[in-house]
Amino acid sequence: MEQYSEKVMEHFRNPKNVGEIPDADGVGRVGNPTCGDIMELYIKVDKGIIKDARFKTFGCGAAIASSSMVTELVKGKTLEEAEKISNKAVIEALDGLPPVKRHCSVLAEEALKKAIEDYKNRQKDV
């Protein structure tokens, strides 16, 4: 077992933005119980800017911290900026993740991408 960074522990201890957004503009759902963690990311978008982000996560400490961190990272960003947020950015913002836990940051990136995609799809439908 490698240690978690203080930053990870902080976000695990007090995760930011937990919950759903009932009238979300985009929802990204990734993972499945057979392979491990499950993450749901909700975003609220106004004039191309992510005004709010929330998550629900079933997963280990790293998964919860990654979810919390990614919601923090996207808030206030334009969709273009948000789309560029990679799992590396999440890892960096968390001061690192143990190698076996890197996939959690990937899940966070994917959840974000899916939420933005979902938002875009809804815009098309309108």
Partner: protein
């Protein structure tokens, strides 16, 4: 407050063991040396061998000391197979990695392996095992008690089935978890080889032992000097072995009472959890189970995050085996008893020890419900379960 409920991973050193080890720290000779310094070490070694073998119900010359339980398992299994041409071996699906991974290795290297299913409680069916025996079966390895869910296997019945079929098949049991927590007697159990480990019974880490019944021939896997009959070469860890001897001595004294006490505390914890937390499942056998072990699935939450939150409150527990923490797989034991992945991942093992008390259990029952509900609030699965 710090509450340690991870005694199946390892246990604190008993004060008497610490003392024994401190007292023997000055006895340093090589137990193989002719001179007096060697003799003093040899005497300590043989005194400890006496104690540990009496704990297993074997004679001292049927016991070798090893470096850990994993080593005992490997010497037993690989060592026996190095001396036979038979190529079929049998184990259960819920063995510790120290056995299961050896079988997987052997599977990939020319052996035919039968991995026995277990029932929903984790018990091996002796009849199922009897049906798997073959003319070319060399060895059967079934653990005495499971480290994750505590289920005690019908070792005696299994041994009887094996003997009915053939006198030549060797029966090994990994009793690393059973030793000290359930009745152990190699004769009554009818086993040919048995692995134990000191650090699970308040002894030192880095010492194990292997019982090898007289007449059972095994070859060394690690090869070197003639120590421990050449089966575990390397200068003997006299100080650690002396500590092991002492640990066995105190574990055996009043074992029944100690286990009854542990069992009462475990039951209190179990009932408290059932009462205060919905949507849970108790894993393992309801009766034939180690008195100290409680494995619980908390639906919709993940085990590591429970452990971390408990840790923040000063409570040490684990998801299944400490040996697989750091990997991402769900417990093979929990999957084998029929849990789905999410439940398997949401499981926590509480394993008590001789030093736990009522107050500690009360403290855990105070903290646990809040943690589970907090994590369920975070979980995307929780709402769905409610809908169902």
């Amino acid at each position: 407050m710090r509450v340690y409920l991870d005694n199946n991973a390892t246990t604190p050193l008993a004060e008497e063991v610490k003392k024994e080890m401190a007292d023997s720290a000055g006895i340093f000779g090589n137990a193989s040396s002719m001179h007096k310094d060697g003799m003093l070490s040899r005497n300590l070694l043989e005194k400890a061998r006496q104690k540990v073998s009496s704990g297993l119900g074997c004679s001292p010359d049927e016991l070798i000391f090893t470096g850990c339980g994993t080593e005992s398992d490997n010497i037993a299994i690989q060592g026996f197979l190095r001396g036979t041409d038979k190529k079929h071996i049998i184990t259960s699906k819920i063995e510790h990695p120290a056995v299961l991974n050896v079988f997987k290795y052997l599977h990939n290297n020319g052996y035919e392996v039968t991995y026995l299913d277990v029932d929903e409680y984790g018990a091996v069916d002796p009849e199922l095992l009897a049906g798997a025996l073959r003319k070319d079966t060399a060895l059967v390895s079934i653990m005495t008690a499971n480290n994750e869910i505590g289920t005690i296997q019908p070792v005696k019945e299994i041994s009887e089935r094996i003997r009915e079929y053939s006198k030549d098949i060797v029966f090994h049991t990994d009793a690393v978890q059973g030793f000290g927590k359930t009745d152990i007697d190699v004769k009554k159990m009818g086993v040919d080889m048995m692995s134990v480990s000191a650090h699970k019974i308040n002894g030192p880490k880095g010492v194990g032992a292997l019982f090898i019944r007289k007449g059972v021939k095994i070859k060394p896997v690690f090869i070197g000097g003639h120590h421990e009959r050449g089966l575990r070469p390397g200068t003997e860890n006299v100080q650690g072995i002396a500590g092991f001897g002492k640990a066995v001595e105190i574990a055996m004294a009043g074992m029944k009472e100690k286990n009854e006490k542990t069992g009462r505390l475990r039951d209190k914890l179990k009932e408290g959890i059932i009462r205060s937390i919905p949507n849970i499942k108790i894993n393992g056998h309801p009766e034939t189970v180690l008195p100290n072990t409680l494995n619980v699935s908390f639906r919709d939450v993940e085990g590591e995050s429970i452990i971390m939150m408990l840790d923040m409150e000063g409570i040490s527990v684990s998801t299944g085996s400490a040996c697989t923490s750091g990997t991402l797989e769900a417990s093979h034991v929990l999957l084998s008893i029929g849990l789905d992945h999410a439940s398997a991942q949401g499981s926590v093992r509480f394993s008590l020890g001789v030093y736990n008390n009522e107050q500690e259990i009360g403290y855990v029952l105070e903290k646990l419900p809040g943690i589970i509900s907090r994590l369920r609030d975070m979980s995307p699965l929780a709402k769905k379960s409610e809908c169902k």
